[in-house]
């Protein structure tokens, strides 16, 4: 028996101290109570007022006790379920678990066949979902684009309708407003087997984006109200630019982003106590020369790590960001920026890390980048899994068996562990020079493209129910009728 024995399971990562986190936390409460936000939604303001917020015109301020109560009501641990009941595709949100997936809405997409940048089309949503379904280290799905070849109001409805049948991994859904949120929800509920069944086993997450600085827009609030009423787990995620639409300092932008997100938390918990809520925020720098929000900056990884620690301090899961790049192509820059942010995100345990596959600072989605990052995430996950120390892993008996000048390849011990102790790459080449040469001297880029094509030609995601297929058809027909006379 051991006493007073301490185990560190995995790599320990801690950036801010409890004292510093308390200061950040108090800063958020200060902003919400004393400065407040604009809420551009009449009903939203009414709900907040009834919950105890102070409303003055569009400005809403939230007393500390109400924020704390809302934090208390939101769960820290819960599960988002695979639509097909495959437990391997379930996502268990909870301390120490990092999950990864693509991001929403870039206008462009890198064509898998030509590697050229072009507008995002409907079939791309199928491609992204199929590849996501097959990748071992990608846990949830987003579309990596806004569909350009359907009626503009229906881009989100078609996006979900294309993704849902092609992956059973949970989808993080994006929408314009109430109508398409409803389309999406109907599809998910059809597969789940009704609203009650959906609430027991939610199979998607809804994504709402308020505006920085300090504005909850009508659309963001409308979508949040829809999600909360239907008990859809939701994300409320602003996108502040340090030095532009938020303070230039990391601590300052974290406080502002948290205040923007927690306005959504308070509203959601007022509508539906206990609805799963992800604190959000894509926090990065406004590059003061290129004038873009940098998706490859070290500050993104750093600020997101700070935001993750604050969220966890407050008892919320976080909508992390990583695997993204400012590069326009699948090159060394894309690999460098994406891999480091993936690793950092894995270290923080940020609960859902999105934008894996964003290139060109979020203007172009690339499933090729996602495929490359799948490798970086696998790599990161091996490191964060850490070193297991026990009598068996210490291997003194095995060392005794082999002795000087022997080898370990026959050892039962080796056979027991070599598959789990080692990570095996899918894309990184470890062959000797001759083998590499004989196999065509491929570069990482070539292997990424080949793997993506292989997945697309061979992977078969599990099918949705026939009734859901029918429901999707009807929902899209009704949606088309809804927008028939609109521009």
């Amino acid at each position: 028996m051991r006493t007073n024995y301490r185990i560190n399971s995995g790599v320990r990562f801690e950036m801010l101290s409890q004292d510093q986190l308390q200061e950040l936390f108090d800063g958020v409460l200060h902003v919400l109570e004393n400065i407040g936000l604009e809420v551009h939604h009449d009903e939203g303001r009414d709900i907040l007022k009834n919950a105890g917020a102070w409303v003055d015109g569009k400005r809403v301020r939230i007393p500390q006790y109400l924020v704390k109560r809302s934090l208390e009501m939101a769960p820290r641990s819960f599960t988002i379920y695979a639509r097909d009941g495959n437990p391997k595709h379930d996502i268990h949100i909870g301390p120490g678990r990092a999950h990864f997936g693509p991001g929403p809405t870039p206008p462009n997409f890198i064509d898998v066949e030509t590697q050229e940048r072009r507008p995002y089309v409907k079939d791309d949503a199928r491609i992204v979902a199929t590849v996501v379904d097959a990748l071992p280290n990608i846990d949830f799905c987003e579309s990596l684009g806004t569909i350009s070849d359907v009626h503009p109001d229906l881009a989100a409805s078609y996006e979900f309708a294309e993704m849902f049948p092609n992956t059973s991994k949970p989808i993080v859904a994006w929408s314009y407003g109430w109508d398409d949120s409803e389309d999406i929800h109907k599809i998910a509920v059809a597969e789940a087997g009704g609203q009650d069944a959906f609430e027991r086993r939610p199979n998607y997450v809804h994504y709402c984006e308020p505006l920085s600085p300090l504005v909850s827009t009508f659309e963001a609030v409308d979508k949040l109200i829809f999600a909360a009423r239907h008990r859809v787990p939701l994300i409320f995620t602003p996108c502040p630019l340090a030095g532009g639409t938020a303070p230039v300092t990391a601590a300052g932008i974290i406080i502002q982003a948290a205040a923007e997100s927690w306005m959504g938390l308070v509203l959601a918990q007022a509508i539906q106590p206990g609805v799963p809520f992800f604190m959000g925020g894509v926090l990065s720098v406004m590059d003061m020369n290129a004038m873009i929000l940098s998706y490859g900056a070290p500050e993104l990884a750093l600020m997101m790590a700070g935001a993750t620690e604050l969220a966890h301090f407050a008892g919320l899961p976080l909508w992390q960001t990583g695997g993204c790049t400012d590069s326009k192509v699948l090159d060394e820059q894309a690999s460098l920026e994406g891999s480091i942010s993936c690793f950092f995100s894995a270290l923080t345990g940020g609960d859902l890390c999105h934008d894996v596959g964003y290139t060109e600072s979020g203007i172009t989605g690339s499933i090729l980048q996602t495929v490359m990052m799948d490798e970086a995430i696998g790599y990161s996950r091996r490191i964060t899994r850490g070193i297991e120390v026990n009598e068996d892993t210490l291997a003194t008996d095995t060392i005794h068996n082999v002795g000087p000048n022997g080898h370990y390849l026959y050892e039962e011990h080796t056979h027991r562990y070599f598959k789990t102790e080692f990570w095996y790459p899918n894309l990184c080449d470890r062959h000797n020079f001759e083998e590499w040469e004989a196999a065509g001297k491929t570069k990482m880029r070539d292997r990424v493209i080949e793997r993506t094509r292989d997945i697309l030609s061979s992977h078969k995601p599990s099918a949705i129910k026939p009734a859901t297929k029918k429901a999707i058809k009807e929902i899209l027909e009704a949606a088309e009728a809804r927008v028939k006379d609109k521009q």
Binding site: P152, M286, M288, M291
Partner: protein, 213 residues
Amino acid sequence: MSEIYEQIATGILEGNVPKIPELVQKALDEGLNANDILNDGLVVGMNEVGNRFKSGAMFIPEVLKSAKAMHAGQELLRSLLAASGAAQTGKIVLGTVQGDLHDIGKNLVGMMCEGAGFEVIDLGFNIEPEKFTEAIKKHQPNIVGMSALLTTTMRAMGYTIKAIEEAGLRDKVKVMVGGAPVDAEFAERIGADGYGHNAVSGAELAKKLVGAA
């Protein structure tokens, strides 16, 4: 060349907002003419700012300060220039389109255009197509600039151009567009006259559109 011009140009480069009006006043007191103060002092400084920004030696917060200093200098010269018959660079109506509340990009363009000598009328954000047409009638600008940050709202740029056409005003103004998801191809598709990929190029484009560059 007078030493004062050099001081003015340096003041612009340093973004010295309080100093510029002082220097411009001093130059006027020395009997220099408004047109020369503008072209040999302020504009020289601002051109250098543009060069340094492009080479990566200056950053946006600094450029904006220079633009603000430029604007302060021009304000002082405006009445004199008008009296001497030297025209303003032009007039611009700016706005973030309907459904979009993103302000910052459009504000940057406004500040840069003011720095380039334009008179800027900023309509704000979430501007309906009709508001744009009304503003054109009222202010008679040379250029209408539209901004959108979202893929979801960039469509409103097309609607606004249509509204301007329907109001019979399209040939009275040049239309320029910008914003993260916007590109030259999109600008062409909706029938805009130009696309600026950031605030600095927006101001340069504006100058080109009025034939001042």
